[in-house]
């Protein structure tokens, strides 16, 4: 038996962490979530949603947040799961790219769309729905957010092709850089290792027991339906090579 901690750390900042970037609270009128100085989201008791950008904020940034983190927040209130990552689809099979910030999730999705005939479903938040016992990725975004050569700030780049309907989730690939890795490599992971990979990608907003139980049920179900991979490469590995490997895996799985 192995015991681990850490994989259940929240991937989204909670107010008790003392980080004022994001905070939310329940009130007698509903729920208020605030991305400080960017966006305020109110959900009333009837489920009506009001999303208000902060004065002077870049409307593109506010729209991005509304379509990603705010979307994930509203979905979480409804008990609907979301993963932090990008997702693309081809031939009825969706591939989700997971990983820490800077792991190359958006870049891999963009390369898959550019060179391998995939359509974009999501760039930042993978919204999932259970339909006829299958987990499907909802199409939620139409642009890749990529860093330019002269700036680390990400900017939207319209996708060449965008998915129009939910697609069965077949592959989840955790991307990471490791300069000790001799080359690009993808390894199928199973069991508790798959749980660890998936758990670290879940977007969470609260720790209630019922939420944690539902999350474990969800992750077990996901792991039973989709293949989980750990994709490691040294920095400097061409993004196109990573995408080509993912496309190859997608072809094999299909």
């Amino acid at each position: 038996m192995t015991r681990q901690t850490g994989a259940n750390d929240w991937s989204v900042t909670l107010p008790e962490d003392g980080d004022a970037r994001f905070r939310w609270r329940r009130s007698q009128d509903g729920v208020v979530a605030e991305w400080v100085d960017v966006l305020t989201l109110c959900v009333d008791l009837k489920g009506q949603i009001d999303c208000t950008p902060a004065p002077g904020v870049d409307p593109v940034l506010a729209a991005k947040l509304a379509g990603t983190e705010a979307l994930a927040f509203v979905r979480a209130l409804r008990g609907e799961p979301s993963l932090h990552g990008s997702a693309v689809a081809r031939a009825g099979a969706a591939v989700a790219c997971l990983g820490d910030a800077g792991a190359g999730k958006s870049t891999a999705a963009a390369e898959l769309c550019k060179a391998s005939g995939f359509e974009l479903l999501a760039d930042d938040v993978v919204a999932l729905e259970l339909s006829t016992s299958r987990w499907r990725v909802l199409p939620t975004e139409s642009a890749h957010w990529l860093s330019t050569t002269d700036s680390t700030v990400k900017k939207p780049v319209p996708a060449r092709a965008r998915g129009a309907a939910p697609v069965d989730l077949r592959i989840l690939a955790r991307l990471r850089f490791d300069d000790r890795a001799p080359r690009l490599d993808a390894r199928r992971v199973r069991g508790s290792e798959a749980y660890s990979v998936l758990s670290s990608a879940v977007i969470r907003f609260e720790r209630a027991d019922a939420v944690q139980r539902r999350e474990l049920d969800f992750l077990s179900s996901i792991a039973s339906q989709a293949q989980v991979y750990d994709v490691i490469r040294p920095r400097g590995c061409p993004a196109g090579a990573t995408a080509a490997l993912l496309a190859e895996i997608a072809t094999e799985v299909a």
Binding site: M1, N8, G191, A194, Q212, L216, S220, A223, S224
Partner: protein, 95 residues
Amino acid sequence: MMGSIGKDEVILPVAHVHARRFDDEFVILDLSGGSYYALNAVGAHIWEGLLAGRTPAQVAHSLTAQYRVDYETAVNDCVALVDELLARGLLRRKG
């Protein structure tokens, strides 16, 4: 401190633990402590047997049918795992 679990004792689940299968392993979430535990295929077999109401001795018999292991080894391994699960508060003794 209580001694080792008897091989014919019945083990019960506890309310603050939630477990699910991942391939041939089990992930056990301890909601009271915020940590999780992983059981390998044999541990998963034992866990499922115990939660189905079987005693360690009965689970050990089923292990001998599925794995290349003699009964004495199986029951000792089974009791050792149950002791650890009890010590960590992931299961409880009946009564």
